[in-house]
């Protein structure tokens, strides 16, 4: 059951998200269905526009909890040891990007991209690393068998593709839906499916914050878990309806189709537990891309205690 909430002094929690995206639907569900309030938390959302800045926000104490990929915590653990960022609740378990071609390719094989050009992401970013990893494991050597354009700002990749740059493009939602709508691109593969389970976005806090505020962390994890359950049990339309206020500027139909696509490939974790195997996989991908030389121990950057507690205490109704 839920803990008692003290309306008088709801602790304020400053949460930062990487970008503002349907990809994090359960978070908005928790927000709009009042799960945070139920738990007695006053959540204030901020956008960092980048995982690096989300991590910086935690380190500089301008956010209490930040949502980003655990690779940032890995890098930081590699660089220095005084402050550790610890992931305590996983939100998404798959890469959220899709692979689009110019023509529909029902029989798409990864080897079809040989000799072609792909618009990718910035070097060092997880989407790019996952792409290279997937390509490599499907017998395509990145940058050798295929040309990858990496110098385009994230906000301009779809436009560049529309403007006849490249043969394939890697896009997040709602970009993929929008490009499909214009008819100039067609989703041929999903990196979520191809890449398998990895801890793509995880809520982090500094180790000291977790130590000092175990209550808050627990309540927050509970709310997220409840939202994950709700999302799992409802249709794309229902989800879109709930999160619409956070996406007032986006067309409702696009919203539904984006949610649908994510839902279909099991993007959202069923529970907030970050498992060792999937972190290992992420680290492998980083090592593969030569952004990391050796793995950081799982225990150093992950605490599953709160997630496990949430799973135990909350019954699926």
């Amino acid at each position: 059951g839920c803990k008692e909430n003290d309306v008088e002094s709801m602790p304020k929690v400053r949460v930062s998200e990487v970008i503002h995206s349907v990809f994090y639907a359960p978070q908005y569900v928790a927000l709009h269905k009042g799960y945070f309030e139920d738990e007695g938390l006053d959540v204030e959302l901020a956008i960092a526009w980048g995982a690096d800045r989300g991590a910086a926000a935690l380190l500089s104490n301008s956010a209490d909890i930040a949502l980003f990929g655990p690779e940032a915590a890995v890098y930081i653990a590699r660089e220095q040891t005084d402050t550790k960022l610890v992931g305590f609740a996983q939100l998404t378990q798959k890469d959220g990007s899709f692979f689009l071609a110019r023509e529909p390719m029902p029989e798409f094989e990864w080897t079809d991209v040989k000799g072609k050009t792909i618009i990718g992401g910035r070097p060092g970013g997880v989407p790019q690393m996952v792409q290279e990893y997937v390509l490599y494991h499907n017998d395509v050597v990145p940058h050798h068998d295929v040309e990858i354009i990496q110098n385009i700002d994230l906000g301009a990749t779809a436009q560049a593709f529309e403007n006849d740059v490249g043969d394939f493009v890697q896009l997040f939602e709602p970009g993929a839906s929008i490009v499909e709508n214009t008819g100039s691109g067609h989703v041929v593969a999903s990196f979520g499916e191809a890449g398998g389970d990895i801890p793509y976005t995880v809520y982090h806090a500094t180790d000291s914050y977790i130590e000092e505020n175990p209550d808050i962390i627990q309540k927050f994890t509970n709310a997220i878990y409840r939202a994950q359950i709700w999302v799992d049990n409802h249709s794309a339309e229902e989800i879109a309806e709930v999160i619409q206020p956070s996406f007032a500027e986006t067309d409702y139909d696009i919203l539904v189709s984006s949610v649908e696509r994510y839902k279909k490939q099991d993007t959202w974790s069923k529970d907030p537990i970050l498992r060792k195997e999937s972190l290992d996989k992420l680290q492998e991908i980083c090592i593969f891309s030569e952004e990391l030389d050796k793995k950081v121990p799982y225990e150093e950057i992950v605490k599953t205690k709160f997630a496990e507690e949430a799973v135990k205490s909350i019954n699926i109704d």
């Binding site: 503002h20 995206s21 901020a46 500089s60 301008s62 700002d153 906000g155 529309e162 403007n163 896009l171």
Partner: protein, 275 residues
């Protein structure tokens, strides 16, 4: 013809003067007409090119879509929310920027030694592309409002300082000599002469400060905004909604042009009194 002229130009000294004023009026009307025409033609051309398919509306949007986006935002009642946020941020950074810039200029005017010591640093700071400092501000000021204001101030304060300081130092030396003959102290000289005499310069510094504040707030919202027109633009960009990008750019242009005009109007009044 004559009657039309008389109706349009009721007051004139004589027939020649009436012709003259009539022609002037026609000329001014032609200009205003052309201005609207240019706008109208551009919009029509844009819309037409989009409909016929010469340009890809996914990339460049189109006037009717922009209009619809504005309507949608209005119906969501988020339109004025975003506008208000951005105007608020710009206003705060504009006022703060002017005050801080003037204060720094005052200190540097007062303490000449410091002025000379800081000189090269002012130049470096002024020529530094402050956009590159974005990440640092997030670290220092956190996400949100404070970082946005900090970004805007970083961009506007140094320029304001330099302009105001040059105003202070360019005050006619003869005024200083005059109050010296009255035995004025440095403080009196500053309050009675330097500051009021620099008001026209400060007023023109305001213009620079205002336009830099707009730029700064937009860059700041790109960096860490949760609302506002800059946020809308970057959000639209990240989610490939060019309609939203163009809409916010258009709204930004309108807002900043209006604020600029208000300032120019106020400036004219001030200039009149102080010079």
């Amino acid at each position: 013809m004559l009657n039309i002229k008389k109706a349009l130009v009721p007051k004139a000294a004589n027939q020649k003067h009436r012709d003259y004023i009539f022609q002037k009026k026609i000329y001014n009307f032609t200009i205003i007409f052309s201005q609207f025409f240019v706008l109208f033609a551009l919009l029509v051309l844009w819309e037409w090119a989009a409909r016929v398919g010469i340009i890809n509306t996914f990339l460049t949007s189109q006037p009717t879509k922009v209009w619809n986006t504005i309507l949608t935002l209005y119906e969501n009642s988020t339109l004025f929310y975003h506008i208000r946020i951005t105007i608020l941020e710009t206003g705060v950074s504009f006022i703060l920027g002017t005050i801080i810039g003037t204060l720094i200029a005052t200190i540097l005017w007062w303490w000449k030694f410091l002025n000379k010591v800081m000189d090269p640093y002012l130049i470096i700071l002024n020529s530094l592309p402050k956009v590159a400092l974005g990440p640092l501000f997030i670290i220092i000021f956190g996400l949100g409002f404070k970082s946005i204001i900090a970004m805007a101030l970083a961009i506007s304060v140094i320029s304001t300082t330099i302009i105001v300081l040059s105003g202070f130092t360019n005050v006619d030396n003869n005024y200083l000599k005059l109050v010296k003959t009255f035995g004025a102290s440095k403080y009196t000289t500053f309050t009675k002469i330097i500051l009021p005499a620099s008001i026209p310069t400060i007023a023109s510094a305001l213009r620079v400060s205002l336009s830099l504040s707009w730029v700064g707030v937009v860059v700041g919202e790109f960096l860490t905004g949760r609302a506002g027109l800059g946020y809308l633009a970057i959000y639209g960009g990240q989610t490939y909604q060019m309609d939203l990008v163009i809409t916010s750019v258009v709204l930004l242009a309108i807002c900043s042009a209006i604020s600029y005009q208000i300032l120019v109007f106020a400036e004219k009044k001030i200039q009149k009194r102080y010079s």
